[in-house]
């Protein structure tokens, strides 16, 4: 969006509009002709997949709101009404519930792709940081959305997560009461969560717009992490990447819809089919899978405030990543040592996820603690050190050369 090249469109109406408001020139330059490295692999399709999931969540969400009632006495019943009486209500509800999980899946893969290929490095630091903000906003949105059906796990998730803020010294209790709008999680809490759950996705959409803007200034990184040197290194975004992305999106939708139609509450918790009861806590409180690693880190620390700090730090640290990893080489293709530690890091995140689903005791607590230490060590020790110590492999002179070497 840096420059508005003017095109001569053949259609007179298009030409008339474009000379006054160059939307068509913009679209042609940014969505069709945009020069894109020719060597992008399928890991690069997850940005488009994540955007698709955001759109699906927006559409299904707007429609569900037409039937949902944000009131402690009616929320659970209105969801059951959607499931039983509203035309295709069951479909809309399961698209939305599973859509959140698959949105996270796509975004997590997108993030790990960025980590592996060094997409956070100069000149893409702002692009990366907007991405981190998107992740945090997504988490807030997903959490508040999970509260809305007002089942047992919804209610107790709201209680536990809002209580995190009570760890803040001095003002903690005041903040929690302010969040609740009372002395416990109750109707005011549900109604404000509903309002914000409707608002935040539009903020997300705006952030995604900024994210794409920040992408289109330097252009895409690529699997070899080499800058584009000539026109030969690139292909126009359309039709090459539009069609590739579309194919990948369809494969992703196949998996997503298989869950929607054949195992729609596989990722949920049975106890959330029981209406919220402020007097009875379920035996085993577990968040949705996409929060399990963070949850494991929260519980790994034996101190209340410490756990909260560690959990939030695990996200905040991502903002500093561009300056923690000082290596000039972007792609781990050419950093064999870092690559080993990267895969260890990926496994660590999965292990944290598994540990987060288990009761915080015995072996699992130990595992979670070791994994938490490695999570932070990767960013604070391993990457800074390896940036200085590691000798990268020789790199091809250009993207075109890298492509030709493969053949």
């Amino acid at each position: 969006m840096s420059s508005h090249a003017s095109y001569e469109f053949s259609n007179p109406v298009v030409r008339w509009i474009d000379s006054r408001l160059p939307v068509f020139s913009l679209m042609k330059a940014q969505a069709m002709d945009f020069p894109t490295p020719r060597n992008l692999n399928y890991w690069w399709t997850f940005g488009g997949i994540a955007a698709t999931m955001l759109v699906i969540q927006l559409i299904t969400g707007i429609v569900l709101v037409m039937h949902f009632t944000p009131h402690v006495d009616l929320a659970f019943d209105s969801v059951e009404k959607i499931m039983r009486d509203v035309n295709y209500g069951w479909l809309l509800r399961w698209l939305h519930a599973n859509g959140a999980a698959f949105f996270f899946l796509a975004v997590y893969i997108h993030i790990f792709r960025g980590l592996y290929y060094g997409s956070y490095k100069a000149p893409r630091e702002i692009l990366w940081m907007i991405g981190v903000i998107i992740l945090i906003a997504m988490m807030a949105t997903a959490f508040m959305g999970y509260v809305l059906p007002w089942g047992q796990m919804s209610y107790w998730a709201a209680v536990v997560i809002t209580n995190l803020f009570s760890a803040i010294p001095v003002v903690g209790e005041t903040i929690v009461q302010w969040l609740w709008g009372g002395f416990s999680v109750d109707n005011p809490t549900l109604q404000r969560f509903f309002s914000l759950h409707y608002l935040l996705p539009f903020v997300l959409a705006a952030l995604v717009f900024l994210h794409i803007w920040a992408l289109h200034v330097p252009g895409n990184n690529n699997p070899d992490g080499i800058d584009v040197k000539s026109e030969q290194d690139t292909l126009p975004f359309h039709p090459y990447y539009t069609m590739k992305d579309l194919f990948a999106i369809l494969v992703f939708l196949l998996v997503y819809l298989a869950f929607v139609f054949y195992s729609p509450w596989y990722m949920g918790h049975a106890i959330n089919f029981v209406k919220a009861n402020p007097l009875v806590t379920p035996a085993h409180i577990v968040p949705e899978w996409y929060f399990l690693p963070q949850y494991a880190m929260l519980r790994a620390v034996p101190d209340k405030l410490g756990g909260v700090i560690v959990m939030f730090a695990s996200l905040i640290i991502l903002f500093f990543l561009p300056w923690l990893d000082r290596s000039k080489v972007r792609s781990l293709r050419y950093r064999p040592v870092t690559r080993i530690f990267f895969w260890l890091f990926a496994i660590t995140c999965v292990v944290l996820g598994i540990a987060g689903a288990q009761p915080a005791e015995g072996v699992w607590l130990l595992v979670a603690r070791i994994a938490t230490i490695y999570y932070f060590a990767y960013f604070l020790v391993i990457l800074p050190l390896l940036g200085k110590l590691e000798k990268p492999k020789p790199m091809p002179a250009s993207i075109t050369e890298a492509v030709m070497q493969k053949h």
């Binding site: 499931m83 194919f247 196949l254 029981v274 072996v363």
Partner: protein, 277 residues
């Protein structure tokens, strides 16, 4: 076959077994007994005769203590369920007194049930339900099958097993209803009954079923196991009344999307064949 999956997973999990021990400590609960319900799997449908039998068990036995708040009488005649005729459903509805009103004088009154009515609850509120049942209110059964799980295998088995078998809710209900046994060591607890399938093993509900508690119109022998199975299937339908529609639309969607994906792959390949990549 399902048992084989469990066994295969168990063997595969042995390698990871070092980490498994604490997961087992979570609850005093048996895994539900395996049962191949007709509605399992991507093509599974409800067995109409079984749902009709299960409805008899529910209304003659369970409904004296348990509500079924989300069931409307009209649902009994809707496609994808027991599929009674509209006349039969009307007849069932008219056997129940529904509180309605207020009338012109401001009084509440009772009238026979209609298709649009919800199945009436046995107690007016939770306090009354508690008072009548030794302090333990019988839960509403509309979502019991989704709200309970049947499998308590270690973490590396359950996620895969659930993919094939679901949460095990119907199996849990079936096992619980037919699984009362004498407590080990002759232990007794005031007002509680021993049932290995119940979390914690001691349940307030006395054994609800006994042989021939219900007379089946289709001549099926009404053993405890049979009634437990039928009512579990019935409650599975009440919990997921749109299951058959879901699977039907799912199949069409999957076939369509499979074709579209294949075509899209060919398009992508055709376009990319122009360049080295």
């Amino acid at each position: 076959m399902k048992n084989r999956i469990v066994r295969m997973l168990a063997v595969a999990g042995l390698g990871l077994g070092l980490l498994a021990a604490p997961a087992q400590a979570a609850g005093l609960q048996e895994n539900a007994e395996e049962h191949a319900f007709s509605f399992e799997g991507p093509f599974g449908q409800f067995d109409r005769a079984q749902l009709q039998r299960g409805w008899e068990v529910f209304r003659q036995v369970c409904s004296s203590c348990h509500s079924l708040n989300y069931l409307r009488f009209r649902n009994l005649a809707e496609p994808g369920g027991p599929e009674f005729t509209v006349e039969q459903a009307k007849a069932f509805a008219s056997q129940y007194d529904i509180t309605d009103g207020p009338d012109e004088n401001g009084e509440m009154f009772t009238r026979p049930g209609r298709l649009s009515d919800a199945f009436p609850a046995p107690y007016p509120n939770e306090q009354a339900a508690k008072a009548a049942n030794n302090g333990a209110a019988p839960p509403d059964l509309s979502l019991i099958v989704k709200g309970r799980e049947g499998w308590y295998y270690p973490w590396y088995i359950s996620p895969v097993l659930k993919l094939f078998k679901g949460n095990g809710g119907p199996e849990y209900v079936r096992s619980l209803l037919s699984g009362y046994t004498d407590p080990p060591h002759g232990e007794e607890r005031e007002g509680l009954n021993y049932n290995p399938y119940f979390p914690g093993h001691w349940i307030a509900m006395p054994p609800p079923l006994s042989d021939d508690a219900v007379e089946y119109k289709d001549g099926t022998p009404a053993t405890v196991k049979q009634m437990a199975t039928d009512v579990a299937a019935f409650l599975a339908w009440v919990a997921m009344p749109k299951m058959e529609e879901r699977k039907r639309i799912g199949l069409m969607t999957m076939l369509y999307l499979g074709l579209f994906t294949l075509l899209m792959y060919l398009v992508k390949r055709a376009i990319w064949s122009r360049v080295e990549h």
